[in-house]
Symmetry: C2
Subunit: 297 residues, 2 copies
């Protein structure tokens, strides 16, 4: 059993109301892998530059970096952003694609053979090229407003080739032009996938299938320091759990939610790097407790 993830490996410069980091390890594939590695062997696919010094971190909990390609003379993807006072808004101040500009993924045989594939947020043509190389029985994907605006047709094609779409609710609305979340999710299901997950930030996440709706709040925290990577960490917990428990969506939502809650407590990967499985289990159980509705049957 293994999970292949393709996506960015990055350095982030981030400022939040609670502090800042000039250069910290980030990127969607990084955050995904650090979370998913609690549940399965993760194989990362993505390019890094000559400036990249964190290969050991990517290897945390046994993740495999054979397909992390170091590009001679290249610079690692760089993102610089700043968050507003309540952390619900953020501004991108600079993006340098670096080695991502010419990323043309060629996966190893082992990565192609993984049971599960996560296409993190990259250009939808590239997502499709990766999808075509893989034999995974369960494929999930993320995307973003940029691709909805500039490559919608390609994005819809990619959506038609996956089992699960994980987007935030604003993206779901933008993609479908439907203001109602349930209607928007149903429209995405009609494009092909069997599961849609709507990430709702501090409010949690909802899951929609043809015959099921499930909603889970975010884990309640008094300390939120940096939301960077929360969505990818959620995806790592969610997809990582599903890899070993196909179809167990509700529990997967709980693991994704628990993982994301740790991610936001400190900058970048800091908290999840030293996280233990026991700490995760505690929060998953607590999520069960704080959502339990004791109804007379």
């Amino acid at each position: 059993m293994s999970v292949t993830v393709v996506g960015s490996i990055a350095y982030d410069r981030v400022k939040t109301p609670f502090g800042e980091r000039q250069r910290m390890l980030g990127g969607a594939a990084t955050h995904f892998a650090l979370a998913a590695s609690f549940f399965d062997e993760v194989r990362l696919v993505g390019p890094v530059g000559e400036d990249f010094t964190d290969m050991d971190v990517l290897r945390t909990r046994g993740s495999v970096v054979d397909d992390v390609q170091r590009v001679a003379g290249g610079e690692t993807f760089f993102w610089h952003g700043e968050y507003g006072w309540d952390l619900n808004s953020r501004e991108t101040l600079e993006t340098r694609l670096g080695v991502f500009e010419t990323f043309d993924p060629e996966l190893s045989e082992a990565s192609r053979g993984a049971d599960t594939l996560f296409l993190a947020n990259i250009q939808p043509d590239v997502q499709r090229a990766v999808r075509a190389q893989c034999r995974a029985s369960f494929v999930a994907m993320d995307s973003m407003n940029l691709w909805i605006e500039t490559a919608r047709d390609s994005l819809v094609q990619t959506i038609g080739m996956v089992d699960c779409v994980i987007l935030n609710d604003a993206e779901l609305r933008q993609l479908t032009a439907k203001p109602n979340l349930v209607s928007a999710a149903r429209e995405v299901l009609a494009m092909g996938p069997s599961v849609v997950v709507a990430k709702q930030g501090e409010y949690g996440a909802a899951l929609v299938t043809a015959d099921e709706f499930f909603s889970l709040p975010a884990y309640p925290l008094e300390t939120v320091v940096d939301p960077t990577g929360a969505g990818d960490t959620f995806a790592g917990g969610f997809v990582g759990w599903l890899s070993g428990h196909p179809g167990d969506y509700r529990t997967a939502m709980a693991y994704g939610t628990a993982l994301a809650s740790f991610n936001v407590e400190e900058f970048g990967t800091e908290r999840v790097l030293r996280l233990t499985r026991e700490e995760i289990e505690d929060r998953v159980q607590h999520l069960g407790a704080i959502t339990r509705l004791p109804l007379p049957v």
Copy 2:
């Protein structure tokens, strides 16, 4: 057993992306009463003008209007607003206080003796004047950004005299200047109440006490037509249920959520007026189903 509610009885002019109404019955006390009347006898307290023609509607499901005061020569409170495309933003185009401008509540003995009191969103001095007249063992209140901005000290005094505060999360943050919802709720608890409910619109609601956190999503709907009164309808279901089931907060959240979900399906009071108890029970059970997290113990 009975519930007294003091607050506005109004005519609303409303436009949403799905239609408009030039003049429909509204007001916080109205919406609260229509919801709470499923669970207990409701006594409405508030002024109306000579133009008011809906006293029979206020009497729905046995609600008592003895303390609804018709002011000679006065005009009923009037609100005119318009909602944005996703119904999450709204603009107030006109407010005419009318008879509310000189509202000086003097409650009947029966209203003073109710077990439960709901102080809907009115000036906090007036809320306190009502609170002082009542012998209720459980008092809940609402408020709004206007009073946080213009009468904060008085509002904090009122909060200190109630058991339960029901605000939306933006108001909780504004009141406490704390961006974090859990921290904001704890700060409100420190002002005196034992329960804080954070209304989160389309995302549902969260409940915070000294030793409990509970979160419930909104009931998933594909048809949302008019959110006007949703918060007061939620409060009516929540407080109405608690009146007969003291301390049963989680079930109360489910009833409030179910009631609010019907409210938004049509304009103003239209849907809740012809609602049945059976329809409510169905949605409460469904809320249990869509939030159930089946965890290994």
